[in-house]
């Protein structure tokens, strides 16, 4: 499923798209109009970003009456986590992350 992983990494490699995911994380099931309101960007621009997110499987849309609602689908991120992140973050790497968190914690 390398193609799928590529699409997810590419979709995540953009600050606007990450911001859109954060908006949906805060409140799920939003319309384009609603999402657009949080961004200084044209409707067309937001649509393009949403399409990339949808193609990567990170956003799933549902019709509700006349509205199209956008939902965050966290499963592809989980799959990448289970495939790529877990493997490298166990043991000593997580110890380093703990150390970093401890050192950076404001006292």
């Amino acid at each position: 499923m390398t193609d799928d992983d590529d699409r997810v990494f590419k979709a995540l490699a953009d600050p606007t798209r990450r911001f859109l995911l954060d908006l949906l994380f805060a409140r799920d099931g939003r319309t384009l109009t609603d999402l657009e309101a949080g961004l200084a960007m044209t409707r067309f621009g937001v649509m393009k970003h949403l399409r990339v997110l949808e193609e990567a499987g990170l956003v799933v849309t549902r019709k509700s009456g006349r509205e199209k609602l956008h939902f965050l689908n966290p499963v592809p991120i989980r799959l990448i986590h289970d495939r790529w992140i877990d493997k490298y973050t166990e043991r000593h790497v997580s110890a380093l992350a703990d150390l970093k968190a401890e050192l950076e914690e404001p006292s």
């Binding site: 499923m1 799928d4 805060a26 409140r27 799920d28 099931g29 499987g57 799933v60 549902r62 939902f71 965050l72 689908n73 966290p74 499963v75 991120i77 989980r78 799959l79 986590h81 289970d82």
Partner: protein, 174 residues
Amino acid sequence: MTTTTTETAVITQVYRVYIKATQQAVWDAIVKPDWAARYGYGGTVEYDLRPGGPYLVRSSDEMKAAGVAGGFPVPEVAVDGEVIEADPPRRLVQSWRMLLDPDVAAEGFTRLTYEIEEVPGSGTKLTVTHEVTNAPKVAAMLIGGEEGGGGGGGWSWILSDLKSLLETGAGLRG
């Protein structure tokens, strides 16, 4: 953040995963006890696949052991509900209530829909839609918010595990 509309709106969580397996294999993994025990939270699933038919998950030995270790009672039935619509191997709609935690159980029944579609060339598309209106504790659990506290990783984790099991023959725990 606007919170005025969330009081009345239906709160829905949507999860989707593509699995290299047949529609029937995905259906079986959801409704058949031998399969369902091998991924996610485990337990023994019982379905009466007719509208109004009961659904339940009996607590696994692992869940009971966790209860003994943590000093809290683990009920015999971990999850219960009722089948609303069953169209094998395509669509299953049911009610769903988690009974392991009294606070979560008190939020009552939620509505859960499984949609299983064949996608030419890439296997099967499984979409899980869970309506959690007025059930904030259930919602937090399902997004994996309790993972650090031992509550498991919610639907993302369950579906990742299911995909791994059906595609490789082994779940994430090996």
